[in-house]
């Protein structure tokens, strides 16, 4: 069970600003999904290794050879705000 208070913390961890109304709306829905996920507890996974990757691949590399980068213009073309070639973000504090 997650509470509205938990949801505030999860919202912060997710960087999603949630209004009081949002929290009211989401809490029961998220709980119904988590309830459903409770199914997982019934599965016996003793001694079972997790499958992080579906294919048993390993050792995929690229060689240390430079390829063309984007131009500065292309790199900045989608940035809503930029200045002197930098991408402009809000103040930190």
């Amino acid at each position: 069970m997650i509470t509205k208070k938990d949801l505030e913390h999860i919202g912060w961890l997710s960087r999603l600003e949630l209004s009081e109304e949002d929290r009211e709306k989401y809490t029961p829905k998220l709980n119904s999904v988590l309830d459903y996920f409770g199914e997982l507890d019934k599965a016996d996974t003793g001694g079972v290794e997790p499958s992080y990757h579906v294919m048993p691949m390993s050792n995929v590399f690229r060689e240390d050879v430079p390829i063309a980068s984007l131009s500065q213009e292309e790199a900045l073309s989608n940035a809503p705000k930029n200045q002197d070639g930098f991408i402009k973000a809000p103040r930190m504090m």
């Binding site: 990757h53 060689e63 240390d64 930098f86 402009k88």
Partner: protein, 471 residues
């Protein structure tokens, strides 16, 4: 035995940028961005554009193994990458690709010169990760009205070397950093002189308190200062009956103080999980071949210098504490007398370089050879040699030109002889004092000879000649 009265425990996390690679760790962008405009060495991958995927640079993995081996670590059988989820504007994907469980190497150590002799510092792990971008604030981070981001640095290969909390003073921390940098330069995978090449986070606690993590340390000197400040701060907190809490602090390099970063973002929960876009590495099999190719490391070179060149251990240590100096020395010692070369490089040249805040690159080995040659053939005096070295560093030119310009050629014996005769004639009081047993009187006669020859005479030779004439 070092007492460590305050129970200081320091552990360092050192981020080493593999800036000698040609490309970044997960994309083909060139690493040669230091003189270029911002955001000119970026691609969809290192800019975190939607849909881009990382692919590991093989050479970065080789370099990581080299570092692991040089730090006496075990190279792991299975290694993989994880996502560390947190948010900062320098992090274009909202997570950093790093290692967590299964780092590429762990469980090593290095030896440093500690407070009480040789001291072992454990290496917890040395793992691979990607560098975030660079942030520029207007003024200070807490006052700036906006944040500018340059992603040229984003995706540079980093090795994070985490030490055990084995250092007991800021001085030991600095020595650890010096030694580490030296080892890394010997491996030839990193140029420590480039901006941002080596960055340090320090964990420090004193007896009776929690540990603080200090971020934003960018130099060895800075590390020592930050730690000194932090010890005083923590001691003051405890003295006033306060509690030293576990927290992250920011080092303000200009003011040489650490500042609390306590804020909402402190509630870190990195939610590590394996990076699904990269497959695991099984590369422990590479280690033996890489070990074979590992260059001679500082400690081994120091021992070899003592044995091969018959020089003092102190000199060998000084010569090998910087890779470039060691190379410089060996090139000189190949041609000139190794012992004399060691003396002049360690005792004179290094001091003059330090005084001017210069590195060995500021001095040509050909010039060193000329100076030694001039000395050995007794054409110049030792004072003259020092003068040449200083002039070369300050004004440039060639040793030969400087000798000519400054008239540093040692004068011929008969000129000294004439000067000695004149000195004896002109200083009857000193002569009689000397003959009466006042040995010191000879010094004023030597001084007189030197004056007459404008310093070009060898003081020892002048003394001999005077003694002969007075005898």
């Amino acid at each position: 035995m070092y007492e460590n009265p305050d129970g200081v425990m320091i552990g360092l996390e050192v981020h080493v940028q593999l800036n000698k690679l040609k490309t970044k760790v997960f994309c083909g962008c060139s690493t040669d961005y230091h003189n270029d405009p911002p955001n000119s060495h970026v691609c969809p991958v290192c800019l975190g554009l939607p849909g881009s995927l990382p692919v590991i640079n093989r050479k970065a993995v080789e370099a990581a193994i080299k570092i692991g081996l040089a730090l006496n670590c075990k190279v792991e059988e299975h290694t993989q990458f994880y996502r560390k989820n947190y948010y900062y504007p320098d992090l274009p994907k909202g997570f950093q690709i790093t290692q967590y469980d299964f780092p590429i190497s762990s469980g090593g150590y290095i030896m440093i010169e500690g407070e009480d002799g040789e001291h072992r510092v454990g290496i917890t792990r040395a793992h691979m990760e990607e560098d975030p971008g660079r942030l520029v604030h207007e003024g200070t981070i807490d006052k700036s009205k906006y944040t500018l981001i340059d992603y040229n640095r984003s995706g540079m290969a980093l090795i994070e070397i985490v030490s055990d909390p084995d250092m007991r003073s800021p001085k030991e921390a600095r020595r650890y950093l010096d030694k580490l940098r030296n080892i890394l330069e010997y491996l030839d995978i990193f140029d420590g002189d480039l901006e941002g090449a080596l960055r340090v986070d320090a964990n420090i606690s004193i007896m009776g308190g929690q540990r603080a993590e200090i971020k934003n340390i960018s130099s060895h000197k800075g590390a020592e200062r930050a730690l000194l400040f932090e010890i005083v701060r923590q001691k003051n907190v405890l003295r006033r009956g306060g509690v030293v809490v576990q927290e992250t602090r920011h080092f303000d390099e200009a003011r040489e103080i650490t500042l609390s970063m306590r804020s909402k973002e402190e509630a870190h929960d990195y939610r590590y999980f394996p990076e699904p876009d990269l497959v695991p590495l099984k590369i422990s099999g590479w280690a033996p071949a890489i070990k074979e190719m590992l260059p001679e490391l500082p400690d081994a070179r120091r021992m070899r210098f003592v044995e091969q060149y018959g020089i003092m251990d102190d000199h060998a240590k000084a010569l090998t504490s910087e890779r470039k100096v060691a190379i410089f020395y060996e090139e000189v010692a190949k041609i000139a007398d190794p012992k004399i070369s060691a003396v002049w490089i360690c005792d004179v040249l290094k001091g003059e370089l330090n005084y001017r805040d210069l590195t060995i690159e500021a001095f040509r080995k050909e010039d060193m050879l000329s100076v030694i040659e001039l000395l050995m053939s007794k054409k110049i005096t030792e004072d003259g040699a020092v003068d040449i070295i200083r002039t070369l560093l300050d004004k440039g030119g060639s040793p030969e030109e400087i000798v000519k310009e400054k008239g540093l050629l040692k004068v011929e014996g008969d000129i000294v002889s004439t000067a000695a005769e004149e000195a004896i004639k002109e200083n009857p009081v000193a002569v009689s004092d000397f003959k009466a047993g006042k040995e010191k009187a000879l010094n004023s006669l030597v001084g007189s000879v030197m004056k007459k020859t404008k310093g070009r005479a060898d003081a020892r030779a002048a003394r001999e000649i005077l003694l002969g004439k007075l005898g």
